[in-house]
């Protein structure tokens, strides 16, 4: 009797352990959710042929040409990388707000803040500016903690979130050492503004029903309308290198709007790209390198 019970106990425990371990190992080893790869991801984009490449052209144009070149390859052969030259960053926050506008980020959601640090003492002072996009880590700690496979690293290196899968548990927020993920709590910039104003087109003032807030955003090439509590309300959100712009041959908005031209973007697998050049020629660093996350955003200090 005891022996039988012992065997049963053992069997149950063994099966439990085996199943659990199996499940964990399976998920550790299994590939990320299905991403389109191969020929179907090749994009023949207008590569500014009619704007002749010139010596001394704005680096934005050079990077845009390189972008088109990269998009002509299958996604798995691209390797998106960002280089931020903090010597050229003037701390203007244009990237931060450009990103808010491009991705229609609500209050409390930010993809790319610029950190300002005051160092030294009068009169030997210094201010350091460090833009902090998502690092698109090669070993992203945010991905493994997602309980529902709603976030993963794409073949081109971008860590994405599928808003329609994300359950909003915010585990990934805690896992990111860079604080690069924020949660969409469903706020609107215009809510509660001009309370009491008569509604409708006949009112003395415009009123809080401002049209830009209800326009859908284009993240991930889809349309997301947050009105009526639709996703991405409740989701985790993060920088995705403006994938929807890349698809159209446009650089991420933080790159194009950088007034100091401190942010560079491109395909690190292209030996002739500007980012490759910058990473090779400079003593680049990554943020919190000791965390072992292997960021794909590099800094020149």
């Amino acid at each position: 009797m005891d022996r039988r019970r012992f065997v049963r106990t053992g069997a149950l425990l063994g099966a439990g352990v085996a199943l659990s371990a199996g499940a964990v190992i399976k998920d550790r080893l299994s590939p990320p959710p299905k991403d389109p790869t191969g020929e179907e991801t090749v994009r023949n984009l207008p590569d500014l042929q009619k704007i002749p490449a010139r010596e001394g052209e704005d680096p934005l144009l050079r990077m845009q040409r390189e972008l088109a070149r990269a998009m002509a390859k299958p996604v798995e052969n691209r390797r998106w990388t960002m280089v931020i030259d903090t010597r050229k960053c003037v701390g203007c926050d244009a990237c931060t707000i450009g990103c808010v506008a491009e991705n229609k980020l609500p209050p409390g959601v930010v993809y790319r803040p610029v950190i300002k640090e005051e160092l030294g003492s009068f009169p030997n002072v210094k201010i350091r500016f460090t833009p902090r996009p998502c690092m698109q880590c090669d070993r992203p700690p945010c991905v493994v903690v997602c309980p529902v496979k709603a976030t993963w690293k794409r073949p081109d290196g971008v860590v994405v979130i599928h808003y329609d899968k994300c359950i909003g548990c915010r585990y990934c927020l805690t896992a990111c050492p860079y604080g690069a993920r924020t949660s969409d709590f469903g706020l609107f910039y215009s809510s509660g503004v001009a309370e009491g104003a008569p509604k409708g087109a006949n009112g003395p003032i415009l009123g809080s029903d401002v049209p830009y807030e209800s326009a859908p955003s284009h993240e991930y090439g889809k349309r997301w309308n947050r009105k009526r509590h639709g996703s991405p309300v409740g989701n985790a959100r993060k920088c995705h290198f403006c994938l929807h712009r890349l698809e159209k041959g446009l650089l991420p908005v933080c790159v194009t709007t950088c007034i100091g031209r401190a942010t560079f973007f491109g395909d690190a697998s292209d030996p002739k790209s500007l980012v490759t050049e910058l990473v090779t020629k400079n003593n680049v660093q990554t943020l919190l390198a000791h965390k072992g996350t292997e960021p794909q955003v590099f800094y020149i200090f």
């Binding site: 500014l48 701390g91 009068f122 700690p141 496979k149 805690t174 309370e195 003032i205 809080s208 007034i259």
Partner: protein, 1481 residues
Amino acid sequence: MRSGYQTRVGGNDPAASFLDDLVPFLPWRRLLWAVWVVAVLLGAVGLVERLHAGHLPAGYGSYVPWGLWVAFYFHGVGIAGGAFVLSVLGFLTGQSGFRSRESLRVAILLSFAAILPSFLGVWLDLGRMERAYRIFLSPSFTSMMAFNAWMYGIFIVVSGLGWLLSFRDRSEWLKPLLTLGVFFSILFPSQSGSFFGVVDAKTFWHSALLPMLFLASAVTAGGAALLVVRALVGRASDAGETDTALRKLRIVTLVAMIVYFIFEFAEFSIALWNPNSHSPAIRLILTGPYWWVFWIVHLGLGGAIPLLLFSTHSRTAWILAGFLTAVAFISARLNVLIPGQAVGEIQGLQEAFQHPRLTYIYHATWMEYFVGLLFLAFGMAVFFVGSRVNRILSVRWGGSPGEPEPAGGAGDMKSRRQVLAGGAFLGAAGIQALARPFGARADSGDPDSILIGGRPDGSYDLCDPDHILYSACLQCNTGCGIKCKLQEGVLTKIDGNPYNPWTLLPHLEYATHPDQAALVDGSICPKGHAGLQTAYDPYRLRKVLKRAGKRGENRWITIPFDQAIEEICEGGNLFRHVPGEENRRVEGLRSLRALVDPAVSKEMEGDVKAIWDEKDPDKKRARVEAFQSKHAGRLDCLIDPAHPDLGPKNNQIVVAWGRLKDGRGDLYKRFASALGTVNAHGHTTVCQGSLYFTCKAISEQYEGGKFTGGKKFYWQADTENSRFVLFAGANLFEANYGPPNRAVRLTENLASGRTRIAVADPRFSKLASKAWKWLPLKPGTDAALALGIMRWIFDHDGYDARFLSCANRAAARESGETCWTTATLLVEVKDGVPGKFVRAADHGLATPEERQTSEGKTYEEKFLTVMVDGRPTAVDPNDDERPVWGDLFVDGTLPDGTSVKSGLQILIEEARRHSVEEWAEIAGVDPDDVKAVSRELVSNGKAAAVDIHRGPAQHTNGFYNVLAWMTVNMLLGNFDHKGGMIKLTTWDHKGKGGLFNLEQHPGKTTAFGVSSIRHGVEYEKTTLFEGYPAKRNWYPLSSDIYEEIIPSIGDAYPYPVKALFFYMGAPTYALPAGHTNIQILQDTEKLPLFVASDIVIGPTSMYADYIFPDLSYLERWEFQGSHPSMPVKVQPVRQPVIAPIPESCTVFGKTVPICLEAMILAIAERLGLPGFGPEGFGPGMPLEHPDDYYLRALANLAFGEKPDGSQNVPDADEREREIFLRARSHLPESVFDPDRWRRIVGERMWPKVVYVLNRGGRFEDHAKAYKGNRVAHPYGALLCLYQEKTASTIHAGTGRRNRGHAAFLPVQDFHGREADDLRRGYDLHLITHRTISQTKSRTIANPWLTPLMPENGVLLHPEDASRLGLSSGQRVRVVSATNPKGEWPLGPGVSRPMESRVVLTQTVRPGVVSFALGFGQWATGASDFVVDGTPIKGEARRAAGIHANAAMWVDPALKNTCMVDPVGGSVSFYDSFVRLDPVES
């Protein structure tokens, strides 16, 4: 014994319990019910709030994403696991007190009662609750969360099965199952500690000890909870068994608790002894704002007190201890959860983008606590219902030990098992079925998708030329080119216009097709991005507002547009509805426009000029009398016949503006001109008047024997090519016409080392952060610093001698220059005071010549004089044939004995008043830095420059500060050179090329007389001259004296004003001591009629009688113009991008949106003003609609400046014209009517206008910016290093002659007194600065910008703070000698204190305090107001921070305005001293 409870079920005294015996006085059942009811009620409120408002009422955010509920969750699963494992281990090992199945079931029930609410808690915590099933359907077991959820899910199933099986005596699966339950509940998930332990990002969590801590706390809390529950459910009859259990649980709990504290100490000890470890979190736990959670709740209630209670022999004490422990151990979870999140790895993150959801501070909200109560109620309910079910099942199924298993039992069990199995199967199948559609759709995603999923792909319109309109920004006056992107007619994104040289370097060639340009975004600053929030501001006005209360009360009624126009034009008893104004008659424009005959006005103008030109006082009086008799019949047209030079009554209409750009500006000035008033005044002096007017003085040309024709403009460095720039008071990474266009021209050069910059500024700006040297000079000592540099340059022969010696145009050309200076011209010196230039003919050095001016007037040319090798030589500076190079340093006498000095001699003597060290001492900078900067300036050839902005200009000595800096540039000889000082060049739009002459104004009267701000004329010439000091200052050299517009009305000097129009201006906010303006505006006697044009109720328009809604910069036309640092010729066009927000009105029979133009046109229509209407520009050229002006101006721009049309832009091709129409399809006809537009410009120009509009203006290609080493559009004229004209003017406050050369002057009031009195008791020098996110009164409407700096604060050096006993973040009030209360008097009975927080920083010079402009708003949506009786709320966000302008000094002599620069006109922005008084809060 062990079945005692079972046998007694249904017995005589079911209510009798162990607890009743123990604590007979406590009605604990009723108490529990009461607790439950309260918990349910409050919990329901919380739940409704949670479901209704989502996560908004919760306190967690993105940096502390998990709060109270997650702590509850882990506490719940801890209790569940702990209670289960203890009880089951006791059961399995046959421990007394735990042997009975009933005790087992109690534990399982307790587990359920703990774990089910926990699940509810995390479910409510999810952002997307409806997708919780995904954890079970598509889990990723790499996630500890999924793993945990599954483990606890399995645990629930297993223990549930165990519970069912426990009713079956002989089940052989019970013990194995229970063992499995133990495993799942506590061992495998390590009681969830690893949930946190795996998070490497949180140092505090990332510890292997954490799972052990969780385990220990689970056993502690579980044991304690079990102890309480066992006591609670124990029967009196079973007291022995219960008591045994209690005794054992007491020991276990005690041991576990002690183990926990040992572990905890172990954990803390690492941090305590190695502060580099995760000590911030531990410091937070021990001494943070929630210190009491650790010390009182955790150690006290969860540790010390239970330990004490457990150490007694009282069962009651044990139960109390158990209760305390079970409750207080939530603190163990909280203390892991919250502090672990509250420490960020990235320093400065929460300051980078500020929002309540982006902080490391977490406070649970009432909603979270209420929902927490719901969990408690739910748990109690689970336990209660479970117990009832248990009792029923016990009766039904339960048997005695040893009894054979009832026959039906097995069957029952079997069926139960089948049911269970079936249920499980069905459940799984159901989930599968649910899941399939999602899965199926997942595979059928679009192959082009970025994400494969059920949601269809959406098109990205924003790079489609059909959705793009190019315009120009006006969030600040840099006016960058913008690319406006629309979604279904709604502007949702603004980027940089790549055709425009502000946003791309080099910008796209003008010929680039819009199809290509659509793909290229240029760079703009954050304000540019946020601009659409200015257009779509909820407070945007749609209707005309008329005042319904006292001025400033902010009570309004809406009135029809036409009624407003009628009232303004005709006047009358307009405000009889306002208490106190029942009988006030307002004079309308019709009667104010007294003089309407152009011939008469022309004649009067000439006669007034004659009065002014008469120097002899008696003859002057005679001329006045002559005037009076000549115009006797028309004297009633004059303001004051005794002073005909005050001009006609028309001058009592003042037309003023803040930000006014060309196009609109042309129309607004045309309006003033049609009204016949001289009073059309801008805002220049609040920005940097003395920069403009000093450069105007420098650019005066020798013409007709005198100096005239100076241009209101200035130079900046050619940023792109400079090798060295000293920026003084310029902060071009955040302001100063800089951010996008100048930053890009600097950063690469700085990073590559090609360029070096130094920054002279009392505050370490972002620009300074990239500088090689920072010279933190004392505010207002610019001239001293500049003279120090000049001294060094003179001492080291660092000046450009060849350039400076050029005395005329020919010499300049011969020397390879485009400009030349007055450096060598001889100045007559009387009593050591330099005066006018020597006229050669007056000293027998030349024969006078009869010449004609460019206007055809004949005059006698007497020539100026230079020394050439010691010989006095006559020179005409404009001579471009015979080069003359003069001697640089001349101090001597002419043959006739006149003592003379050269301009440069006067300058060197000024520079040599002090040594470099002494000058440095005055400026408060290190002399070595002065020398090093000087060396850089002279050793970079002509590619070095001093670039200044408003910093040096906005002082009472502003004119001379600017002159000193510009003189340094003259010494360097860098004007027009690549890398040197350059000026702007714009394409004309007014008809220079002869296409449409938009300057013709048929039938207008000539405006004449003294302006209300007394500019452009010398006090001494007028009939108002009464000696010195004058009542207020006179400004012969400057114009647009903003700080005089309203205060002069207050003093009725030179005359009372009857009507004031104000467009896009906020002098009350923008001016130093702007509060003085508020007091005047409120006085209806001093200002009977005040009409404002504004897009919202602004800080000045709120005092108006009427506010006409206006179009924002995204709905209107303008020509933005250029800035001095832009080498290429440009004309950016601002065009309507979105449909107008205001209502429409009808003017000249045409529909237009209500706006500035509509107001002008309607008044013109009603009054029949000349220059408007069907023949506004002459026959066949109407001006009845804004398009009549703007489209013609655009055609002019497209046509170019050559009458032969050779500068025409190309025609837009077919495709471009298509794009043009499609991109404007959302605009209403009142704004965009292609037929109307086409008709106005004509067929020939139409495709060219399209071409220009498709590119957002006209821009020369970058390649055309330079010719060799020089700019393609040079200044190319005389530079007045010494200024005869300036030197001949007199300061109206002191009667002293102004200096004509660079000099260092102290800060003085209007009467020339230094401000020592005002400084006494106030020792902090107040300055201001600009932050990139705000532009004075306008940008606060943009909520996107708020997170960058929600509140400004007062910057203070820590040294000053410790001297004054102030600490970081402390609230202070800014007070000064002229505003000792530190208040803004805003309106009747309303004032606002100037208070904010102290921000300690090393970036300000000690002794200096600064605040960023743009905050502390009281209008623009910041305050409540009433329209048509309906109160409308202001937005608190907009009122945040401080605007300390009211602390800036009121001039003690003028009394109703700030201190002024008497020469350049600038306001004194940076001269006041203040004190910071701590505020109790």
